[in-house]
Amino acid sequence: MKQLLYSSSVEGKKENIKPVVLDILEAASSLKPGEDALFSLELSLRELMANAIEHGMTTDSQGDILVQLRLEKGRRIVLQVRDGGEGFDWKNTDFSCSDPYLEKGRGISLISSLVNEISFNCRGNEAKVIIDLGAEYG
């Protein structure tokens, strides 16, 4: 069973990140998730929106970012972020960020260390993050 908690399409601008973060956290709070789940959700959303703005808004593909949050199977929240860009070749991208001195490129690695699952669509312009709320929600 899927329950849509939040859905919005916003222009791909930096100043639109915070309002979406606040709305999503408010929507998720209705589920009374733990502190860790909310932290994971906030950081994942910020990273994915930043990626969408930085990489998904090329000159030819200015546009909106679609953000959705759902509750699935009664115990896991699913965050989806999609931009209108050409996507990226995630199958051949190294997300390990093995060099800790790099100034960029650790966003997906950071999300992976927090959430139960992260995946991309074939085109690479949509990311899906799954955060399990725990057995008490099942």
Binding site: K14, E15, E47, A50, E54, Y101, E103, R106, L110
Partner: protein, 109 residues
Amino acid sequence: MKLVKKNGIDVLEIQGEIVFESSNDIKHRAKEILEEGDLKKVVIDLQNVPFIDSSGVGVLISLFKHQAEKEGEIVLAAPTKKVSRVLELTRMDKILDIHDTVEAAVGEV
């Protein structure tokens, strides 16, 4: 952002989130302050930074490398709970000197 002296040590106080939206401005302003004062050892006071993302971590790495190039030093102090968590997840706690309080970072305790 404000530079103060505590126990004879330069302390750079940062206020607000260090995230994608703000990270470039914070990085450039911090480097300006480091350059203007020709500062060597600098404590970055994070107690008023409620959140940091990977862009913010990049800012700290950039400042660390900037100081290392001129044989200076960056020390982090008083990270909030969420900031600490990000620093641990990105293994910054392994390469940066991090103290629980500003007092500890400036050697008062």
